[in-house]
């Protein structure tokens, strides 16, 4: 395990019902597709500034929960609160503008656009997103100034993730791991408060995995970002997340720190098969 992640790990036990300063609260979330209940009354909270892990066997409803929180799906029932305001069923762009963004399980780069374009797309409310301002000569000056700032920030972000050498490459030409880095870079450009990472380490080699985790810890430390992480790699979750939520059959089975989770009988039975 990397040193930085080791030092970052908070060992304080957090009780499931009393997360201090919850930034995201999910209460009785329910999502039904026809006769299939994918999420069945999931309730949990994510503390501000925390790195929380969400685990569960395949079909436990993790991705659907993500989709319901981020507005891709409209929940059938329940409440989602972000930063003290109810956000249930709001569209993805509204949530992103409020600081709640996500990455996708399979990296979804905009393949016919360059890496730099991908990253420069992300910032909210760019002046030049207005059609008239980007065309009319007098108004375009503001657009140019804004664009220069966005461009410089984009380069900094690419530097941070060490993909600056790929800036002018089409995103479709990137390797799987580079795409994951690009997704992270893109999401950061939106200036988020909280990032939902859907299996950011799937198909990523150990070196890159370390790099990504280091970046996540650095962003927490320096910018106070909150992360909710879905991941299948148990070691990653146990070693990096101070709070872990276990989902099973659409609802939350257990919550707590790594120690509490690994010693929880129900978790062992339902998910870990008693191996750990």
């Amino acid at each position: 395990m990397s040193e930085s992640s080791g030092t970052e790990r908070q060992t304080a036990t957090v009780d499931s019902d009393s997360i201090e300063d919850p930034l995201l609260e999910v209460d009785g979330l329910r999502k039904q597709f026809g006769g299939v209940v994918a999420v069945d009354g999931a309730t949990f909270a994510v503390g501000e500034g925390s790195l929380t892990g969400l685990i569960g066997p395949n079909g436990a409803g993790k991705s659907t929960t993500f989709n319901c929180i981020t507005g891709i799906h409209e929940p059938t029932g329940g409440r989602v609160t972000f930063d003290g305001q109810e956000i249930t069923g709001l569209p993805p762009y509204t949530l992103a503008n409020r600081g709640l963004v996500r990455t996708f399980q399979i990296a979804r780069e905009l393949s016919d656009m360059t890496v730099l374009e991908n990253v420069m797309l992300a910032p909210d409310d760019q002046v030049g997103e207005s059609a008239i301002r980007s065309v009319l000569p007098g108004l375009r000056d503001d657009v140019i100034a804004d664009e220069e700032a966005v461009r410089d920030r984009a380069w900094e972000t690419l530097d941070f993730f060490e993909i600056d050498h790929l800036a002018h490459e089409n995103a479709g030409n990137l390797s799987g791991g580079q795409r994951k880095l690009l997704e992270m870079a893109r999401v950061l450009m939106t200036d988020p408060e909280m990032v939902l990472l859907d299996e950011p380490l799937a198909g990523v080699n150990p070196t890159l995995e370390e790099k990504l985790l280091e970046r996540i810890h650095e962003l927490r430390r320096e910018q106070g970002l909150t992360f909710l992480l879905v991941e299948h790699d148990m070691d990653v979750i146990m070693n990096n997340c101070e709070h872990i939520i276990v989902m099973h059959q659409g609802s939350v089975l257990a919550e707590g720190d790594a120690e509490a989770i690994t010693s929880d009988e129900r978790v062992l039975e339902a998910y870990l098969g008693g191996e750990v």
């Binding site: 569209p91 762009y93 905009l110 461009r151 999401v187």
Partner: protein, 426 residues
């Protein structure tokens, strides 16, 4: 390096304006050579006729291809109702500008000045485009295609309907003219008055070498259309090379991701659709209504597919490519073969049908087949267009310029100098 690649590399090295100018120059040169070889003493007049017509055609298709490129090339909005939006623009302009005291048998209009008519036409096309898009944009791409093509036919059949041919509104008599069409003051008249007015000395010089006044007016009109193309290109290049254009490209690539990054994609899609339709409306009146007369049969869906062909040839996603595609399609594949067929003398040995032409091959005489092909080239050019499209889709799916990397941004994207540790960022 293959020939295609070396040609492409050379094209890449040219600035876009040079590329378009070179392309147009080459097409004009071909027309001139054709006129010189078949025109005899009349060559100058014939050349002016060819060049004027080909320029009008290229101008019309270039405006349409630019508009479609914004909608389909950039945003991925599959609009196959181009003809309908052209009709909305053309008919609105016609009704606004047609004289209040028309000649016998013609329909009356509101008699407004031409510029009011043009603006009104663009506005109407934009509004109708927005209305057509509203329900469809919430659905998947295929549904937008179905809605737009149906919409364009509904529009054509509506203006064709005798019930609207002439009606009274607020005490004024108006109408679409139904199947007979409607006459109005055309933009071509502006070209005519330019030739007879300010441009009279130049016109006299042209007429000195035998160029007829109508041909000269047509040529002038072609150049005016080119100016409209230039202005549209300027607007669209700025529009697409901006954060706005960036969002459009992102919508084409993956709309869910774009929304997850905080962009309300519906607003962008509707805006784009309206802007594109406005330009299609303008093309409807300037191109189809050149002669100051429009009728429903000018707005059949075939023109929609021609514009798609032009854009595919040029490379969807590239504004410069749209213009080159329009020039290639309308100039080289559509106009040129027809003129060759009309003007190349075939002698008496040309067979009257394909069976005779092919049969002659049996006696090792290829001439009848060649003669037959040339003689029927205006029909066969559609086969040619089909072959070119198949070739492009298989071997060069990005068209002439679609492979280019044209990042959508308003500034130079290289790292600024300050960032590299230099003194300042200029």
């Amino acid at each position: 390096m293959s020939v295609a690649e070396s040609v492409r590399d050379r094209l890449d090295a040219l600035p876009d304006i040079g590329l378009v100018a070179g392309f147009m120059g080459a097409i004009w040169a071909i027309m001139l050579v054709l006129a010189l070889s078949v025109g005899g003493a009349e060559w100058a007049n014939l050349a002016a006729g060819f060049i004027g017509s080909v320029t009008v055609l290229i101008g019309g298709y270039a405006i349409l291809a630019l508009a479609l490129n914004l909608q389909w090339g950039y945003t991925g909005l599959f609009n196959i109702g181009i003809a309908g939006f052209m009709a909305v623009g053309a008919y609105t302009t016609a009704i606004l500008t047609a004289p209040t005291d028309p000649a016998a048998g013609a329909v009356a209009g509101l008699g407004l000045p031409l510029w009011v008519g043009l603006l009104g036409g663009m506005l109407a096309a934009a509004v109708i485009g927005g209305l057509a898009a509203l329900p469809a944009l919430r659905l998947k791409a295929d549904y937008l295609a179905i809605v737009t093509v149906a919409f364009s036919e509904v529009i054509r059949l509506t203006v064709n309907w005798s019930g609207l041919a002439e009606f009274s509104l607020f005490g004024r008599t108006l109408g679409t003219g139904g199947a007979t069409g409607i006459s109005f003051e055309s933009a071509n008249d502006v070209a005519g008055s330019l030739v007879n007015g300010v441009g009279a000395p130049v016109a006299a010089a042209f007429q000195g070498v035998g160029v007829s006044a109508p041909n000269l007016a047509n040529l002038t009109y072609g150049l005016m259309l080119m100016a409209v193309v230039g202005a549209s290109y300027w607007v669209f290049a700025r529009l697409t090379n901006s954060p706005f254009g960036r969002v459009l490209k992102a919508i084409r690539e993956d709309e869910t991701v774009t929304q997850s990054l905080g962009k309300d994609t519906r607003v962008f899609k509707i805006k784009t659709f309206m802007i594109g339709c406005a330009l299609m409306g303008l093309a409807g009146v300037l191109f189809r209504g050149q002669a100051g007369y429009i009728s429903p049969s000018q707005f059949r869906p075939t023109i929609t597919f021609y514009v798609f062909a032009a854009l595919i040839i040029g490379g969807s996603g590239s504004n410069t490519g749209s213009i080159l595609g329009a020039a290639t399609f309308s100039g080289l594949l559509f106009y040129l073969p027809a003129r060759i067929g009309e003007n190349v003398p075939l002698g008496t040995r040309a067979p009257s049908n394909i069976v005779e032409a092919v049969a002659a091959l049996g006696s090792l005489d290829p001439f009848p087949l060649v003669a037959y092909t040339v003689g029927n080239v205006s029909t066969l050019r559609f086969v040619l267009i089909g072959v070119v499209l198949i070739y492009i889709i298989q071997n060069q799916p990005d068209g002439l310029l679609g492979h280019r990397n044209e990042p959508a941004a308003s500034v130079d994207l290289d790292r600024s100098r300050a960032d590299l540790g230099g003194e300042s960022d200029e």
